[in-house]
Amino acid sequence: MRLNKKDLNKILSILAEGRELFVPGQVRGIKQFKLWEGEAPELDGENTILPPKDILFPKTEKMYTYKTGTEAEIAEIVDMPERIIFGLRACDMRSIECMDSVFIREGFEDSFYARRRAKSLIVAIACSGAGVNCFCESMGLDPNAAPSADIFLSDGGDCYGVEANTERGAAELKKWAEYLTEGDVPKSETHCSLAPAMSRELSKKLTGIFDDDELWQEVTGPCIQCGTCSFVCPTCYCFDINQADAGGEGVAFRCWDSCMFSDYNQNAGGHNTRPTKKQRLRNRYLHKLAYFNERHGMELCVGCGRCISKCPAHLDIAEFIDKTAEVCHD
């Protein structure tokens, strides 16, 4: 099906009806997903600086309220809004697949994530411009497709090609019917900028360099342990659980955390499993490129390049992959 671009705002109005609609746009000068307020979304150019992660996995998420004392009680917070994520690209769609695998498919279901996910509809769009640090294709992705999104839009000049990949997507498209016309749009041809030598086979070799101290010292040397890489990464999903107490009652919440921080593995009694930054960054890289694959059958890096763009110390995971590809060459 086709959708004339001049009708986009009508579609957004349909999507926003009774639901929270998130689109790419500027908030205080930073391109990110924001609540739609009638404006034209920023679909062109490079991807958002911040990932859409917090729509499904909020930076701070209330889990339950509690009361202490003689009337002690705990009440789970189950209220989740219905949401639409519009204009998300292939890399960020894959990152949601990663989170689905962790929070929904493996072992226990994480009810908080699962409820949000069940109430979210995703309209993805073909990538319209790779950033200088993008390497999604090296991670096995096609920037011109997002097969797990509910609805996918490809760019056909003055119109979008529209296809539904899921039943929910198909049901949604019925609401768009008066604006859709028959016809196809040829697949877009965006390609990413960087082409490091990552082959998906590499991940199996990476654990083999675990003990290469010299390599890790060199790679991790400049890192200042600021945690920015985790914050901007669409797939980093570690969290901390805490309580905000207001005397006799309060709320337990979880919030994003980073394995780059020294207190992340700090045990009572002083023992720390990863006391040095070499160990911590090694864990981050190997989790992304090797460990995650063992559990979930895919990498936990989608090649979006955000961590490369924002690292104050110029660490570069794509360069790391290139370097280790050489080291691992057998």
Binding site: M63, Y64, D110, D211, F239, A268, H271, H287, E294
Partner: protein, 281 residues
Amino acid sequence: MIEVNHDCTCQGNPLVPQVCRITDIRNETGDVKTFRVQSLDGKRPFLPMPGQLGMWSMLGVGEAMFSITAFGEDWIESSIKAVGELTEAMHELSVGDFVGLRGPYGNGFPVDALKGRDILFIGGGIGAAPVRSLIRWCAVHREQYGRFDIVCGARTIDDVPFREDFFENWPKMDNTGVHITVDRKTDNWNGSVAFIPDYVETLGLTPENRKVVMCGPSIMIRLTTERLAKLGFARGDIITSMETRMKCGIGKCGRCNIGSKYVCLDGPVFTLTELDELPAE
């Protein structure tokens, strides 16, 4: 891909605790107290297997993971050593007070693989806590297991926890030897004064048909393993329980990983051979 199998006995959301009431508190040693709890409707909060973990929550202060050291028809208990803010606050609690509790988490001890075997149990300090849950299980199913040797090591005799079990209940079990050793002699102790590794070597135990279950400080595990190796014990026959920082208990928060394994999910119980296969973080 790693398959995770869960027979979860928690109701509903595994990340949300249930309110429990403290029904008993016992002083084990100067800084270890055992807390017994039940749910508000007077039931056992959940059914744990030996070696599994519970996330205890002091509402308003925070949460921490502890071994579940015992359970009965309508209660479970953990033994908690005061080492920091949360555990010290917990030591201020009284019978009748409320805590949050969620679980059980982790794999627990391989009670089936141990069947028919002689077992050497070793608990160092508070490490006796997880070992206790297994010994209690094996005592109930006594006929399924071979000889028991139970070793407890502590700094002084006053630091030995679970005194009723070590001095009264377990010595009365069939085909069982209970062996206590301390680091430092005091006037009220005439028994062994030796570190666990040295002491275990003197017990004359052979590796034939015997498994070792050992928990305690990592230095103790390492040195005792060296001695056991000298006696011919294979690393695959030595079972231990790991301790890492935990937040969620269900393999989601990322905190407790060693390589691709999560201690809260794939552990905390591992054989030394299994641990050898993990990256040396």
